[in-house]
Symmetry: D2
Subunit: 343 residues, 4 copies
Amino acid sequence: MYSFNNDYSEGAHPKILEAMIQANLIQNGGYGLDDHCSHARELIREEIGQIDSDIHFITGGTQTNLITIAAALRPWQAVISTDKGHINVHETGAIEATGHKVIAMPSNDGKLTPADILKALEDHTTEHMVQPKMVYISNSTEIGTQYTKAELESLHHICRQKDLYLFLDGARLGSALTSPINDVTISDIAKLTDAFYIGGTKNGALFGEALIILHKDLKQDLRFLIKQRGAMMAKGWLLGIQFEELFQNNLFYDLAAHANEMATLLRDGISSCGFSFYSDSMTNQLFPIFPDKLIEKLEKDFLFSIQERFDNNHSAIRLVTSWATKEEACREFIKTLKDNIQE
Amino acid sequence: MYSFNNDYSEGAHPKILEAMIQANLIQNGGYGLDDHCSHARELIREEIGQIDSDIHFITGGTQTNLITIAAALRPWQAVISTDKGHINVHETGAIEATGHKVIAMPSNDGKLTPADILKALEDHTTEHMVQPKMVYISNSTEIGTQYTKAELESLHHICRQKDLYLFLDGARLGSALTSPINDVTISDIAKLTDAFYIGGTKNGALFGEALIILHKDLKQDLRFLIKQRGAMMAKGWLLGIQFEELFQNNLFYDLAAHANEMATLLRDGISSCGFSFYSDSMTNQLFPIFPDKLIEKLEKDFLFSIQERFDNNHSAIRLVTSWATKEEACREFIKTLKDNIQE
Amino acid sequence: MYSFNNDYSEGAHPKILEAMIQANLIQNGGYGLDDHCSHARELIREEIGQIDSDIHFITGGTQTNLITIAAALRPWQAVISTDKGHINVHETGAIEATGHKVIAMPSNDGKLTPADILKALEDHTTEHMVQPKMVYISNSTEIGTQYTKAELESLHHICRQKDLYLFLDGARLGSALTSPINDVTISDIAKLTDAFYIGGTKNGALFGEALIILHKDLKQDLRFLIKQRGAMMAKGWLLGIQFEELFQNNLFYDLAAHANEMATLLRDGISSCGFSFYSDSMTNQLFPIFPDKLIEKLEKDFLFSIQERFDNNHSAIRLVTSWATKEEACREFIKTLKDNIQE
Amino acid sequence: MYSFNNDYSEGAHPKILEAMIQANLIQNGGYGLDDHCSHARELIREEIGQIDSDIHFITGGTQTNLITIAAALRPWQAVISTDKGHINVHETGAIEATGHKVIAMPSNDGKLTPADILKALEDHTTEHMVQPKMVYISNSTEIGTQYTKAELESLHHICRQKDLYLFLDGARLGSALTSPINDVTISDIAKLTDAFYIGGTKNGALFGEALIILHKDLKQDLRFLIKQRGAMMAKGWLLGIQFEELFQNNLFYDLAAHANEMATLLRDGISSCGFSFYSDSMTNQLFPIFPDKLIEKLEKDFLFSIQERFDNNHSAIRLVTSWATKEEACREFIKTLKDNIQE
């Protein structure tokens, strides 16, 4: 049964795996202090146009988020997120476990606005309340939407004005940057944020996220915190090799573009059948709203998750494509969809 | 200038202070292991009708909340509160600082309902999310409302059913129990909750809250945690003496009843002028909605805080009465109010 | 039975209590933002000769320690203490509960030396280990010894050189500063440390410690942390009043001097009987080494604690005097001692 | 330059890599809920003879340690370790960051004894101190020594008697179990501990540790904590595949045995030159004591670390062999050693 459950159901892109195989028996220094990591850092610094940035390779997104946020905040400070933010909903309280409140602002489209930030600041004015100090956004967002350059600039502006750090969760950054409607470059993001990460796990790597620290206040001794939280991989060069491959010959973008193309196949097919979507996603996560009976039928042939009940007999499901998604699988899904609605 | 800012603007009721003076030069054991604390525990156990309850005296409410919640939760568990809950808004992230998320459910009247709890449980269903394990309520609430016996019973029922602990913050319990509309006894509360505290600071003590632990799972080694959080007072008998006085000769209830009577004077006077209130409070906190111009005038003679802007030219203010509030002050406030609206 | 168990067995010095009585029914602002606290801060700033210092009044020592240390350290940093340090042994892991390691250096006399600090730094050289950032000392120490001015200067020097904060726990500072061998002034301490606190609980106050912050990096937003840890007393002026009294007319020193005089009575009497001591204390804590049989006899008439077994039939006991200790009680103890050894 | 720096300088054993390649494009469920992990769990349960054990695969040792310890302890409890314990020295305060004190007992040979545990318990007797609840040991230890079955039984006995959990860090368990002097089986360890982990990273896997939970109190909801700490790998089957290979056809033991054989080559050669060792290691870590001048010469051809200065002109170095260590490299090291001492 074909799975559209997520974008991490397969291993690594063959080029990445090949590079790991080639290096397998060559000795390397531990903990990310090796030539592969150094080279990968250089490739990324060039790509983002920030030669002074600090770059750390970490195995997963939850660790990357909690380390960055814990490094940025004093004990009484908090991070602002949308209510749909991954740190607010899907990390089992990882941020609170570091001692910090997540200030969750309601959002329908999964995007945070300057107005949301101002509201959060207005709500937190005294020493009897937590002190907002960082803003957390995801691009693409948890429901597949994405920020325009103008939106990122306005968030950057308000954060500078209010002395807040801006942190961008890029678990699905590749999909956002290669979306047909995208007008943002990775160097724009490096200019407009204080820290962000580039997701590898969901874009063709076996595992790994590249955390880029741009604001000097967030750089100090970060490797101590990475080690303390168990995020400093012994065989760190495994992360370096993967990001070397991703940022050579455009692989990072090619893989994300493929995922988006597969999503477009699904989106167009679903739309052509007259179905609407829970969010306006032009990235690799789609949330079509189907009758529950239809969902039951689709579940016989495909794996996917239920996002949210829409009404008494409709629900939004979640379909995720990836670098590894097969075109046939998408066409088969649409065919199955059409067959089932024609009945 | 007379202050209606809060219910802790004065020291202690003279009887309490007198008892402290009498005992001042008598040697006592430290850390709450003394005869005054033992006697006060006995008086409270009799009053609440739970001879097996553990009782700890703590200097303040924030510490009492964070200790009780930290003792109840495993690292991945969370506490459910209303969005207006003191732990959610006014303790500078004290609960998050213990590593736990506060799941804040929207509430207009400051009260939590079984439906809110069920919603919180429905929203937290997987190991990728925090696990709700405790329910936090305040009585009277942060906006002066209070729970009926039927409401507490329904909360007790849902908590038992869903294996959640029910914790009641009684910083203003006295005011709730002596309110004209109250139908709850302190022994009802001891029957219906797993832990609650009796507020002294806001009801005539110099300082001090009596934490009552009813569920056996919350009793184990709690004094270790109290010490660790710096809440085990060296001269602990000072807390014992105060609660001895409060629970002898009905003083706890008499003081709260006075605060409520003073609030009734203000409420009736304000209503008679045709003003409405932000919440239906029959306790010692009132939130009348006044024109901003009127508020400016009142501020010349009285201290009080602004609760919330109501519309472009109206705001809700917060008036708090206490065991020490003078009847003349209340009459003077109403007179000033009337003088100013007649102009 | 007379107690030499500790220096917090009685309430407050009558002058302090009288001041609290006088102010009892006067309205004050909450949370330490009142005239008494302001005045007390001014008195202390004058006394220590540091007009720019921040001063916070906190009810107890454990909270004062954990708040100061948590405010000073980044998540991966640690505090250096002696193995006998109060934070290392007697606060139920309060510092670790804020996420920080206490690096405990062995010490026989309870005092930390520059050599100890250098050793701790040599032992912690990589990002795989915690990073020492603060030095914690107590004066007088947990075993009654005290620092000379030269010793404090050398600690100050090494801390400046190694970019470490120096924090002095002054729970028993009064006793140290009025000891017959003391050569340190409170303004010396304010010059040589980055933060210290003046103990009130063990020197005549009902409760309360005055935390003095001297290093600007430790000042930022500290009230947020104080509130978060439940250490911001609602009726904060109660602390202000007590420190106003302590720092008017020399009361702080007079009370400590009395405690030391009473200790001298005991020390001389015990020495005259040929007994030796576990530590060379010239402050209000004495640790005489007695035969166990003798201890059993003394326990019939006096309360005190056993510090440590010395050999198979000797133990060191702990005798503590205070501002309230009665001369007769000391003479009675010596008499009982002599009677029992003559048998 | 050949490195004896550690046992994680190379990638994975070819069989393991091959299995990962074979599975690379096959879809799997996420987060360790897949057939490879299930099969690996079954293989390990059979190997250890505990069919009811819970088994979790985690990418690194520091995370495995902090998750197990945080799951076992209430907020005021502590873990007992030797002063050389990895959690005490080399994890940047990871345990303290979870809020818990590590009680470090001095040890010369890196092993903890029942007497050490009793001493720790005697030192922690009141609610003013942390409460020891877990015992942490490593096998092989941080300095290459190992526990006999009798020693583990005595630790098991004292832990049962004192109601302490016994947790064994098996980062180098393979080397211990295949050491020429070993008399312990993996099923002995599963019988005698409450939790332990089997190290893959240092024994031929790309990464990964298998955490085995034996005591039912430590099993509850552990996946919540694993997720919260960022230790639940998205592509969890990568861990499953590696442990399937390790526990099929004896690979886990064969790889460790090779590392030990290479260590024996080095140990015999070094001994034959008349040098002594810092610890009696029969496992894959050796600590020969060499003249500093000799060390300088060896550093020209080999990578290794300095463990500790021994005297003014001698130091103990650390040589580590692994599954990938080449026999020629060991012979070359001994030859270089002999050449240099003959000069």
